[in-house]
Symmetry: C2
Subunit: 188 residues, 2 copies
């Protein structure tokens, strides 16, 4: 994507987040987001299908890091592949991104339509990871369990990472949550 295209997306996202936080998602129109970003409504629709999409990167872009992590792992053990995916996926959540992620999550938490969209995103990630694992020869049930567990670790780590006062990096938080899941299921 050329740089100015990325700039347009960033400006639209920033404007949308501020408007949603200010007035509530339901009371903001696409036209208002475009104006606040100094762009046209037509430009908005070149980048996003509708208002609900503006706070979400394309699904491909979101899943890409995770998939690349699994693809670059040479082992074929299910959890080894999932951990490689998680480590690569964590790279996106840099310290500079944390304030944005916190503000974004506050809006998502206040907006049922965005919560649904978030669920769909994570469910799609689990399906995609399951597919990547079965392609590597992992049986279907193990693949589903490993991929869903990976998504559970990611979403839990994300919630911890954006918590008030949390200062550890995303990879560090995620590693801790993964260890906690191992501990939880090692007994029993």
């Amino acid at each position: 994507m050329p740089r100015w295209e990325g700039d347009a997306r960033r400006r639209l996202q920033q404007a949308a987040l501020e408007l949603f936080a200010d007035r509530g998602y339901d009371r903001v129109t696409v036209a208002e987001i475009a104006v606040a970003a100094g762009l046209t409504e037509r430009t908005f629709y070149r980048h996003y299908a509708d208002k609900r999409e503006v706070l979400f990167r394309g699904p491909d872009e979101f899943e890409e890091n995770f998939l690349r992590g699994a693809a670059e792992e040479t082992g074929d053990d299910a959890m080894t592949l999932v951990v490689a995916a998680l480590e690569r996926g964590a790279g996106f959540f840099s310290p500079e991104r944390r304030p944005w992620s916190r503000a974004r999550q506050a809006v998502v938490d206040a907006t049922p339509a965005l919560q649904e969209r978030e669920l769909l995103k994570l469910s799609a990630l689990a399906s995609t990871l399951t597919g990547a694992l079965t392609e590597r020869g992992v049986d279907a049930v193990t693949a589903a369990l490993a991929a869903e567990s990976g998504v559970t670790v990611f979403r839990t780590a994300f919630a911890v990472w954006i918590g008030a006062g949390e200062e550890r990096s995303f990879p560090e938080v995620q590693q801790g949550v993964l260890a906690q899941l191992h501990g939880l299921l090692a007994r029993g």
Copy 2:
């Protein structure tokens, strides 16, 4: 709920499932479902808020079994509580119910709106279970991991249980899936 009310719900569900399977969810109206069930549209709306709801029991009813299982468990270990919830939840999926569950799932799999609804149902179950665990003194992160893992086991077991040729009972399948998850996370 009086018996005739339960009958009306069952007739509406049966009629809806047959129509959806026959013609596709999008091409069926609430009026047609009511007629096929020998009831009025008004009766339909006394039982369900809209067409999307007819294949879903009320969320309270679905979650109730799981919650009761956790409530009756005297231990306070997170996974012990989750396993108790799963065992009680499994009771609903009797052998007589399997053909219905298979037919229902085929319609859900073919219908994005119903897939979204199913995701919401399972996500609500995870939240409710997380809440039940924290009320029992489990810390927030452990509660989330245990509850999400429980839902992963349930949904994976359900997919196996409705598989072609599967003859084991739901509790048996679920126990096997749980053991597989333990095995997967014991290593590492």
